[in-house]
């Protein structure tokens, strides 16, 4: 938010023209009606009787179960994305191999694939009834769809490119001169990575992870399809919001929604702080 581009580049303008006022008015009305007012109404509804709505929601074991499931899923998905994202970024930037360009396209596919399609895709492979691998896995005692592993996979799928997107540009910019120097001085691969590469990309890596955490907490469509959305068993927090609203329990829906938003906002604030610190370190 402390973006140099938006803060300092306000060129010394002539006095505000009529055109600028029109633009300001249009934007203000648009954003007020589309974003601000609706958001305010939701928050007012959630905090209408202080923390009462939220404490009432947390008293419901199904809600607690949903929140815990979302938390566990998000942590697991982020851990997997860390390993995968870091590995793929290093491969894409530092190595040449057959099909690199294609891989770089495919990596982005999860960002624009519809969540429902993601869910369907996973079901077609891991459903214990009609999936390609599902029945075999079930015989081996592994439940994927309609269970925790399926939920984690759906979450990983949708947040997969976030780490790669953050790390790749930084890694490219860094170049590999220092790494080569380290290696020529006798450093091993792991030592070079830990001492040279990792410090260079650590902020990018952290943004990627926090963004993927935020995305994981909020994933809905893919998880809903894969999990079978059984309340109290496989329903995550977002699914619980939907079912609470549909059961006319609007207050509970508002309460869970507000908790989710606060968690996500916390993630984004962390990103903003890191960004500022990163910019300061570089500057």
């Amino acid at each position: 938010m402390a973006d140099a581009s938006s803060a300092t580049r306000t060129s010394p303008r002539r006095r505000t023209s009529a055109g600028a006022w029109v633009v300001r008015a249009i934007v203000a009305v648009y954003l007020f009606l589309l974003v601000l007012w609706p958001t305010a109404v939701l928050f007012r509804g959630a905090f209408a009787d202080g923390l009462g709505t939220i404490t009432a929601a947390i008293a419901d074991p199904d809600v607690v179960h949903a929140l815990v499931l979302t938390g566990q899923t998000a942590v697991l998905a982020v851990a997997i994305n860390l390993v995968f994202g870091l590995g793929v970024s290093l491969l894409l930037v530092r190595y040449d191999f057959f099909g690199k360009r294609v891989l770089s396209w495919l990596i982005d596919l999860p960002l624009s694939a519809s969540p429902v399609v993601v869910g369907l895709a996973l079901l077609l492979v891991y459903s214990p009834v009609y999936g390609w691998f599902g029945p075999g896995l079930r015989e081996a005692g592994i439940e994927v769809a309609f269970a925790m592993p399926g939920i984690v996979m759906a979450t990983c799928f949708v947040s997969l490119p976030l780490v790669v997107r953050e790390v790749v540009p930084v890694l490219t910019e860094l170049g590999d001169d220092q790494e080569q120097a380290a290696r020529s001085l006798g450093a091993g691969g792991w030592q070079t990575f830990r001492r040279i590469t990792l410090p260079g990309i650590r902020w990018a890596l952290v943004y990627g992870l926090v963004l993927s955490l935020a995305r994981s907490l909020g994933e809905f469509g893919a998880v809903k399809v894969v999990s079978g959305h059984v309340i109290g068993q496989t329903a995550t927090a977002t699914v619980a919001v939907e079912s609470a609203y549909q059961n006319n329990n609007t207050e509970q829906a508002y309460a869970i929604a507000v908790l989710l938003v606060l968690a996500t906002v916390l993630c984004l604030v962390v990103v903003a702080i890191l960004h500022t610190r990163d910019a300061r370190e570089k500057g």
């Binding site: 938010m1 402390a2 938006s6 060129s11 023209s17 633009v23 300001r24 934007v27 954003l31 589309l34 974003v35 601000l36 609706p38 109404v41 939701l42 590995g87 491969l91 930037v93 530092r94 190595y95 040449d96 191999f97 770089s104 495919l106 982005d108 624009s112 519809s114 969540p115 429902v116 399609v117 369907l120 895709a121 996973l122 079901l123 077609l124 492979v125 009609y130 390609w132 799928f157 976030l162 540009p169 490219t172 170049g175 590999d176 691969g189 995305r215 994933e219 809905f220 469509g221 977002t238 919001v241 939907e242 609203y245 929604a257 938003v261 996500t264 906002v265 984004l268 604030v269 990103v271």
Partner: protein, 281 residues
């Protein structure tokens, strides 16, 4: 700035830049194998399963789903909404980016924050937020649930940041001397805008708009509470979901393939645009 999933439209060099790339070592080869295994199990094989399923019913299933009058209505509504919202975003997004970069007024930081709200919200919450004001329990006494307007609102909400965040950095890096030169040569504000500024912003606007279009086509979470599966206001995602729940995975796969193709084309167009912009410098 808390940039979220908007890629730097033109700022970063394209991936796979040749600088410093070398052949695979044994460890890297092993890593590549491991990464590709996970990527295949998670993404490639499942997506292939969708295509196989859609093709497996033979061309006839595919054809019967896609020529089904209900599906055609859904398809048309989804695409028209996506195009409409994307055009709206192209205009509003550019205006908002303009205010953020070139204008000075109190509360600019707040404006910057407001743009991030749609990204900070889980999609289901976005739908809930709109219903809080425009739903049947809302203070305005209007009810958009089950209406086309409701779906348009939901999609406009979730795609709001794309164009803003794509245009903002490009506008900020635009030198003002050319504009001043044009103005000093007697060009009117409108001429300067049309001849100087808009052409340089066009790649960024297009990049943001294509992201917004891809998202609009595939959106599910924010729409589901609002559309309430009412006939005629279904979008492709909610229809896919209905097929899945009904056990008709072949029909679901047919619609899904269509969605995937649109997503893939958008990514490729975006990549080409980025490369072209990077080459131009």
């Amino acid at each position: 700035m808390a940039t979220v999933t908007v890629p730097r439209a033109t700022a970063s060099p394209p991936r796979g830049d040749r600088r410093g790339a070398r052949r695979l070592t044994r460890t890297a080869g092993f890593g590549l194998g491991l990464a590709m295994t996970w990527f295949s199990l998670l993404v490639l094989i499942p997506l292939a399963a969708v295509v196989v399923k859609a093709a497996g019913g033979g061309w006839t299933t595919f054809q019967s789903v896609l020529t089904d009058p209900g599906t055609l209505v859904t398809l048309r509504f989804t695409i028209l909404t996506a195009v409409g919202v994307t055009l709206l975003n192209a205009v509003m997004g550019t205006l908002i980016a303009w205010l953020l970069v070139r204008d000075a007024f109190p509360g600019k930081r707040i404006l910057d924050l407001v743009i991030d709200i749609p990204f900070a919200m889980p999609t289901i919450v976005a739908g809930l937020v709109l219903l809080a004001l425009y739903g049947h329990e809302g203070p305005l006494g209007i009810d958009v649930s089950g209406t086309k307007l409701g779906v348009v609102l939901a999609i406009a909400f979730v795609t709001l940041p794309f164009v803003v965040r794509a245009v903002q950095p490009v506008l900020a890096s635009l030198e003002t001397d050319v504009e001043e030169a044009a103005a000093s040569l007697g060009a009117s504000r409108w001429t300067t805008l049309r001849r100087i500024i808009l052409p340089s912003l066009l790649p960024a606007i297009t990049a943001g708009a294509s992201l917004s279009f891809a998202r609009a086509i595939s959106e599910y979470g924010s729409v589901v509470l609002i559309s309430m599966n009412a006939r005629g206001v279904e979008v492709m995602s909610t229809e896919t979901y209905r097929y899945i729940e009904g056990g008709d995975t072949a029909a679901a796969a047919a619609v899904a393939v269509l969605l995937l193709v649109i997503a893939l084309v958008t990514i490729i167009v975006l990549d080409v645009l980025q490369r072209r912009a990077a080459r131009r410098g």
